[in-house]
Amino acid sequence: MSHATGEARLGAALGAPLSRTLLVICIGVAAMVGLPVVITAIQAFQGGASAAKTAFTGSATPTLFLHTIELAALATPACGGLGLGAAWLVERTRVPGRRIWPLLLVAPLAVPLFVTSYAWATLSSSFTGFWGAAGIVTFSYYPIVFLLVAASLRVMNPALEETARSLGLGAWGTFTRVVLPQLRPALFGGMLLVLLDTLVEFDAFVALKFQTLSVNIYAQYQLGLSAAGAAALSLFSTLICVMVLLGECRLTGRTNYTRIIQGAQRGVVRHRLGRATPVALAGLVLLVAVSLGIPLGLLVHWFAQGGQTAGAPAGIESLWPATVTTVLLGASSGLVAVLLALPVAILAVRHSGRLATTIERSVYLSFALPDLVAAIALAYGASHIVHFLYGTVVLIVLAEAMLFAPFAVVALRGTIGLIDPALEESGRALGLGPVETLWRVTVPLARPGLAAGGVLVFAFVLGDLSTAQVLLPPGLTTLGTQFWADTGTVAYGAAAPYAAVLIVLALLATYVLMSRFGRVRGLDAR
């Protein structure tokens, strides 16, 4: 069969048999995620050179560009440091409360950024501008690093650290010379996500009146200055994204530290903190207080305010429908994102080589455009090409799934990397086809990762505003759009219930996420 020989030849070139079907599916996913970039490029070219020129020269583009870069340059290492430190404390020391800390440390990720930024802006006007923006991004995104690094620490071979200690290294020496090098992929992977997300973040900064490239692009659209000009500006962020991805490929290299767990798992030797215990605890308390306490505090404040002004908060009757819409939207987007991510994660874990890496990384192109621009591009594309999708729930579900697919890929890759390939091979040896093996071996084992990926996307959809504003079918509202509308009219008491439900959903999502992320069924690393 020509198909079989083709498969074999391609496989030989890559070192492992690479299914052509898997390859085609993954290229399809990558193309889908890259679609908004293509549409935006077309829009930019349609405007011609003059529109682009006006957009670049007529605004403070260089300053905004600088703002964006500065913000990312500060927030990315800060997230790296906080996430790494917190993960090490929780996974490698005897710090008290090791069960509850992960939950509290990850929860800020699920709290919508626009809620957090309103909270900061309300707290003090000094939190607006650059430092406010940097603070919000840092304290909202460090959980990404924490999640990945903590999962990586959980599966690290304890013998590596034990050997280091037998060779005379203390806690610090073991950390810097053994643990940190092993954590590099997880740490860099997490920081990459933070960096890319910061570059295109926009919802968070409007409330802070902090001008970045994304905010300016939004203004271009809003003021109706020039759609083509906005598109041209957006491609700027695409350029940065591609540059970052290329740079990251060089930095991380091709080292693969994924460990396949064999035999009985025994616990790690945790370091005694001794007299440093109060310091470590204080650090964790402070981190949680800032990242989670401030948005929760805002809620309490708003509720109190709403009580004072009395009268039923306006618009409360749409709380229930908005909650239902939000949950259904989040759940279906999470499901679709996991379906998109699964083949890509399998490709990334089971095949090495330039082709597999390139395809996996191209999914990160969803960070190439600010959410708002991507949503507009999809709306534009749908209205011109697939008109029947325009203004439907299907389009927004697809859009959300595409935007947050990289997070699902990360969650799935972590879990699938732990599954011994021999398990899949024995499935094949027992006569199962590739699809049946996937369904009966890989998916059941990877179920915690599938759940974690889905919930992660769910949490991001909760916090997404731009996409909903552009693509939500008329007549529907989400918790986010309602919150936005009410804060826009300074009806803070009315906004409070929406924010409260959002945060409750976020905390529920965190709980599911923390119990599933980076785990394999039947192989609990604890």
Binding site: N157, A159, L160, E162, T163, A164, R165, S166, L167, G168, L169, G170, G173, T174, R177, V178, P181, Q182, R184, T255, Y257, V269
Partner: protein, 377 residues
């Protein structure tokens, strides 16, 4: 330099006792092998000595200095100067082989590649391997690098946790020899834990048998094999033929004849323990099997034969024993099934007072002859 002394070590995980009252002395510069089945607590013992876990009671002394005493002091692992070779080596994947070897040395010494070459040669590896990455080495080479890394800071004591598991037989032999050579060259005291009888007996100056968290017997390999403290040890250390008999005046009468005892003091109803290689056979076909006249040995019929290359195990049917008795026979001319042989027992045999009671053996299908031992190698 460094004698290791464990005094009354007990450790438990929750309610489950893993080690109870382990006493052990490893003289300076020698290797003691701890032999135990999986789950017997041998890795836990190493981890207590290493300091990865704290014992509930007892003390660990290295070179006469207390490094851990329950409820009193616990020196962290990095302060104990104890080398550790983990299962499967645990080489650092982010470092080259030479960097792995020099890992435990002070910063300045880590630059000296000559020292890495020296250590690689010590464990019998080509110094060219220094530039490679751990995953480019075979399993046996990885274990050698792990040992070189452990020996680099010249620790007075090294602990080896199943260092040869997963290696094939030929590679095992070579790697064992390389490890013994390197340890002897540095005069390092060593403790090796293993579940492999041949490995423990061939490598240890002394061998300790750990069963359900208790160190049942510690002795020189030959003593352990020939004079095991009880039947359980006898059966764990090697294959054993156990026959019911009566002992008196240094002789035990059993289905294999009247055999001289190791311990003349044993008397009464006993279980005699004979190693299969003590049983010698010669063709009995020259004589009529029925005659039964003037022969020294017992006539037996071969019921089965298993060929292992240098030797074979033949199963013999003897009057008075319902189950066949295995004999390990060297050489080419091994009798086949159906042939008759004359059987004698070389050397003295061990006998243990029968825990008696027909009741005690009631569970056993053959009350008169218990054949035990591990599956053939």
């Amino acid at each position: 330099m460094a004698e290791l002394r464990c005094e009354q070590i007990s450790a438990s995980y929750g309610a489950e006792d893993v080690l109870s009252g382990v006493d052990m002395v490893v003289p300076d510069g020698t290797l003691t092998a701890i032999l135990g089945a999986s789950g017997s607590g041998k890795t836990t013992l190493l981890r207590v000595i290493m300091g990865f876990i704290a014992q509930q009671s007892g003390a660990v002394l290295i070179g006469g200095t207390v490094v851990a005493r329950a409820g009193d002091m616990h020196l962290p692992p990095e302060k104990r100067s104890v080398g550790y070779v983990a299962q499967e080596g645990a080489l650092y994947p982010h470092l080259s082989v030479a960097e792995n070897v020099l890992f435990g040395l002070p910063r300045r010494a880590r630059k000296a590649s000559a020292r890495a070459f020296e250590l690689l040669e010590l464990v019998g590896l080509n110094p060219r391997y220094g530039a490679r990455r751990p995953h480019e080495l075979s399993g046996g080479e990885q274990r050698r690098v792990a040992l070189a890394r452990a020996l680099a800071p010249r620790p007075p004591l090294v602990l080896l946790d199943e260092p040869f598991s997963g290696l094939d037989a030929a590679l095992r032999e070579d790697t064992r020899a390389a490890v013994l050579f390197a340890l002897a060259a540095q005069g390092t005291t060593a403790v090796l834990v293993t579940h492999d009888q041949a490995e423990a007996l061939s490598m240890g100056r002394k061998v300790g048998v750990l069963m359900a968290g208790r160190l049942v017997q510690t002795a020189a390999p030959a003593v352990l094999y020939r004079r095991p403290a009880n039947l359980d040890v006898a059966q764990f250390v090697g294959k054993a033929v156990v026959l019911r008999g009566r002992a008196a005046a240094g002789i035990v009468s059993c289905p294999l004849g009247d055999l001289p005892l190791v311990d003349r003091a044993v008397a009464g109803s006993v279980d005699a323990m004979i190693r299969p290689e003590q049983i010698r056979i010669q063709p009995a076909s020259a004589r009529s099997p029925a005659s039964g006249a003037d022969h020294r040995g017992v006539i037996a019929k071969v019921s089965a034969r298993t060929f292992y290359g240098p030797d074979s195990v033949v199963q013999l049917q003897v009057d008075g024993s319902q189950t066949p008795i295995p004999a390990r026979v060297l050489g080419h001319e091994v009798p086949g099934p159906g042939e008759y042989v004359e059987l004698t027992v070389a050397g003295r045999v061990m006998a243990y007072p029968s825990l008696a009671s027909p009741l005690g053996h009631a569970a056993s299908p053959e009350p008169d002859a218990l054949l035990t031992g591990l599956a053939p190698r």
